[in-house]
């Protein structure tokens, strides 16, 4: 199989990884770095479980080629350890099985940093890119609002 070495910044650390040009970012992060926070749920952009932060914006890592992310600042759920939003998810019971959770946390985190003044519609639009099958979304909403309130 043809491939090459590529350089990634993930969660503040440097990684030299051998990749194929056709590898997705999700495949490389999960398979080659030990960070398994980003989850495969559909591999075609429908579920958002694979969301990571690239240069401050949420990206579905199943839709981005690893080569596109070379040299960019990548954060996975592990990189947000101890963050307010993570704590809020625990406090508000915003997960059950937890499979969708890292994706939501990445998505919420970027919303908080990019649009701290986000209104209801913005929030709806933003969070509709993920799917949670366990909760009714009520608790996810509460967790997000609790952090947004502190930032206003």
């Amino acid at each position: 199989m043809t491939g090459r070495a590529a350089h990634f910044h993930i969660n503040g650390e440097e990684y030299n990884i051998y990749i194929r040009n056709a590898d997705t970012l999700l495949y490389v992060i999960r398979g080659k770095t030990g960070f398994t926070g980003a989850k495969p749920g559909c591999l075609n952009g429908d579920c958002g479980a694979c969301t990571v932060i690239v240069n401050g914006w949420p990206v579905k890592s199943c839709l981005m080629l690893a080569v596109e992310a070379e040299g960019e600042e990548i954060i996975t759920a592990e990189g947000l350890h101890g963050s307010e939003i993570q704590k809020a998810f625990v406090k508000y019971f915003a997960f059950q099985c937890g499979y969708c959770t890292p994706g939501y946390i990445m998505n919420c985190q970027t919303l908080i940093t990019q649009y701290p003044e986000a209104d209801r519609n913005k929030i709806k639009e933003w969070l509709d890119s993920n799917i949670c099958r366990c909760t009714s979304y009520e608790e996810i909403e509460q967790a997000l609002y609790s952090v947004l309130r502190q930032h206003r």
């Binding site: 199989m1 194929r20 056709a22 989850k39 495969p40 749920g41 559909c42 591999l43 075609n44 429908d46 579920c47 479980a49 019971f93 997960f95 059950q96 099985c97 937890g98 499979y99 969708c100 709806k124 639009e125 969070l127 509709d128 993920n130 799917i131 949670c132 099958r133 366990c134 909760t135 009714s136 979304y137 009520e138 608790e139 996810i140 909403e141």
Partner: protein, 735 residues
């Protein structure tokens, strides 16, 4: 490799070209494999001779990486001869319907499975209570209606996966995303004759189950693939598409319900036929069929009940359990029939339910006499729902020319018809510092049951819950068995086992302390991680001084590590009688009443959920936030199932929507307001009286939504899902 056809003969399979690709370790086909299936062995793990559903596994390529495997799979050549397909249970039971299985009569099966040879009927369960004739004679009003529910899916966010390895000594190590690791162990023994002690199944945290991961499928493929590759570790991960169509789905059902009642609304007789869609293989569908029969009437007392529940093959994916275990389907049909009857009686549908709600002293369709502990308090649930939904406002209120505000209600009950000999076990080991580890066979699939188990242990040992460490992973070699993490039974069975283990540990702690404190065991008590003399609480020992035994000042030691053990088996359950269905099928019926309020657009038939309400008899709420989360999550799922979820089949039986953009669960912006209220009538056998809770929130919402929409359009809704298009079709058909 997945079948492109729903029904076809396999003329030939050629794997030669695939095998030539470097990195390919083998190609598994169905040749020579034993048949599998939980109650009747009718399923080749990989199709052989013919395929019976679109998406069925036809070959498995084992390669060094997924890319190579996909490349080689394209080179496996399969020639099919298409056969006519059967797409609904009612078609399948017709005379001369194409047969999905030619050998229905001769498959190896368990006791209690009743196939009808030469037909598509894989099993039949009967309920015969009282006399329909008598019930009819005492009645003045009757209704009859038929219902249809297509197959759909669980769509857990984590797709199924499994890894397997066969060690040189014959040990089979499996890691799987499963709700039933102990069942995997048992079935590997039953299907392949592997010694039970040689099967070790690991299950880490599971990314959502809802019943879908209680079936055993991918584990078998991983094991066979590993065998094919000389025992090397093999991992199989279902892509979303396969998870939707290849893996077991959520059953479809058809039903015909006839009810007889007196003019004042007393139900007198019910004659019911359920056709549970088994799809291509009977696996769990036989059990689903039985469960449908057992609770066939919903939570009402009816003296005379006949029910024939058939498990019917079609050329569709075969079902796993789905949250509620056939109860949401049964309730959609039965609770719709109740509304239709209320209409005919010209009676308030809530009042009709209240009058017939099952009460202590009355009997179930299986002729079991219930009491407060075994059935809870449905009338109280109905009373509270009536208030919460503001029933006095009326079911239909016109907002303006175009919009209506509409309410629909319905009731529910659920027992768990799990095998009478299902067990659960727990172990508590102590650490040297006096903290404890809890090991239980309950799989954490998102229900938070293990948190509740820790609460139960903390309460029993009067310890701080933060000093109890819960082992999350299951390993069938070292974890005591919990039959399956299904049926809302974790808290009852796992809880009783954990309680017993805690009591056992307490006894041991006291025994050591009794020597040291020179006091009788009966005079000792436990609290705050201490054993002390009841009369003089400051005379005592901290757990840390006795958790590993006690050492006297001179070095003499007694005791050893404290290891508490406990188990639980359900009491006095019976198999149901083959002819009448008589028996005690499960530990208790949890009851509840639910409602929805929608805003309905009379012009384009769209509707918006305003709120959904559940009043459930929880027995005792052990963790309020977790309980509410379970219920609202189930409600959300139930509304999605009712409002939009179904597989769409083309004429050839192929599934047209195998992706999350075409099979679309509810998203954030579509959520509604949820109101949850709990009645607490203790189930005496359960820890602190808690009843099952994980499924109940889903069970009756499809019916409530159906009832609301029927009221809005003044037509009887008889099928799911309730999309604007299906409503439009009904209205157009009427013109």
């Amino acid at each position: 490799m997945l079948s492109k056809f729903a029904h076809a003969e396999i003329d030939s399979i050629s794997t030669d070209r695939a095998m030539k690709i470097p990195g390919v370790r083998g190609v598994l086909t169905g040749e020579g494999l034993p048949l599998t299936g939980e109650e009747m062995k009718d399923r080749p793990p990989v199709a052989w001779g013919k395929v019976r559903y679109h998406g069925e596994v036809t070959a498995v390529v084992i390669a060094d990486d997924p890319v190579t495997a996909a490349k080689a799979a394209n080179l496996v050549e399969i020639n099919y001869k298409p056969l006519p397909v059967v797409q609904t249970p009612s078609e399948a039971v017709k005379e001369n319907a194409p047969l999905v299985h030619e050998n229905t009569g001769i498959y190896e099966k368990d006791e209690g499975v009743n196939p009808i040879p030469g037909t598509n009927i894989a099993s039949h369960t009967k309920i015969r209570k009282g006399s329909i004739q008598r019930g009819r004679e005492e009645s003045e009003v009757t209704i009859e209606e038929s219902f249809f529910i297509p197959p759909s899916d669980h769509a857990a966010m984590e797709t199924r996966s499994a890894a397997a390895e066969v060690k040189p000594d014959g040990k089979v190590i499996i890691t799987t995303s499963s709700q039933a690791p102990f069942m995997v162990k048992k079935l590997m023994n039953s299907y392949f004759g592997i010694e039970l002690g040689k099967v070790v199944v690991h299950t880490p945290l599971v990314g959502g189950g809802y019943g879908g991961k209680a079936s055993v499928q991918q584990e078998i493929l991983a094991y066979l693939a590993s065998m094919k590759a000389g025992g090397r570790p093999v991992k199989i991960v279902y892509p979303r598409e396969a998870d939707l169509i290849t893996a077991p789905c959520h059953m479809g059902m058809e039903a015909t319900i006839k009810l007889w009642a007196t003019r004042d609304g007393k139900l007198k007789a019910a004659e019911i036929q359920y056709l549970v869609e088994a799809g291509a293989y009977s696996d769990k569908a036989i059990h689903l069929t039985r469960a449908a029969a057992i609770d066939c009437t919903g939570p009402y007392f009816i003296e005379n009940v006949w029910c024939d529940s058939y498990c019917v093959y079609t050329n569709h994916p075969y079902p796993a359990p789905y949250r509620g275990f056939s109860h949401s389907e049964v309730h959609f049909c039965f609770e719709r029939a109740m509304d239709i009857l209320a209409g005919k009686l010209n009676m308030d549908p809530l009042e009709l339910r209240f009058r017939n709600a099952i009460r202590p002293g009355q009997t179930t369709p299986t002729q079991y006499k219930v009491n407060r502990s075994t059935v809870g308090d449905l009338p109280e649930c109905i009373r509270r729902l009536k208030k919460l939904i503001r029933w006095e406002e009326g079911a239909v209120v016109r907002i303006n020319e175009r919009q209506l505000k509409v309410k629909g209600i319905s009731c529910l009950w659920k027992n768990s018809t799990i095998p009478p000999d299902s067990t659960s076990g727990a172990i508590i080991t102590f650490n040297e510092d006096g903290t404890a580890n809890l090991i239980s066979g309950v799989v954490e699939i998102g229900t938070g049951t293990k948190t509740v188990l820790a609460q139960i242990v903390a309460e029993t040992l009067k310890m701080d819950i933060n000093n109890i460490f819960v082992r999350m992973e299951i390993d069938t070699q070292t974890t005591p068995e919990h039959w399956k993490t299904v049926a809302s039974r974790g808290t009852l069975m796992g809880g009783r086992a954990a309680m017993a283990a805690a009591e056992d540990a307490a006894r041991q702690l006291k025994a050591i302390a009794s020597c040291v404190l020179r006091a009788r065991i009966e005079d000792l008590d436990i609290a705050d991680s201490r054993v002390f003399i009841r009369e003089e609480p400051d005379k005592g020992l901290h757990f840390k001084d006795i958790a590993y035994g006690y050492t006297f000042p001179n070095g003499n030691s007694i005791g050893g590590q404290i290891i508490g053990r406990g188990n639980y088996i359900l009491r006095n359950l019976t198999h149901i009688d083959k002819e009448t269905g008589k028996g005690k099928p499960g530990p208790e019926w949890a009851v509840g009443a639910q409602g929805v309020e929608i805003q309905f657009d009379c012009r384009d038939y769209t509707y918006k959920l305003i709120r959904a309400i559940s009043v459930l008899d929880a027995g005792k709420v052990l963790n309020w936030k977790a309980a509410r989360g379970q219920v609202t999550g189930a409600m959300s799922m139930g509304l999605a199932f009712a409002g939009r979820e179904a597989f769409i089949f083309d004429k050839e039986g192929r599934i047209m929507n195998p992706q999350l953009r075409t099979y679309r669960p509810l998203h954030f912006s579509e959520k509604t307001e949820y109101i949850v209220d709990f009645v607490e009538t203790p189930h005496v056998d359960a820890p602190f009286g808690a009843r099952g809770l994980g499924e109940q929130g889903l069970i009756s919402l499809p019916a409530a939504l159906g009832n609301a929409i029927s009221a809005a359009i003044e037509l009887q809704v008889t099928s799911l899902p309730l999309t604007p298009e299906t409503i439009w079709r009904m209205k157009e058909a009427e013109r």
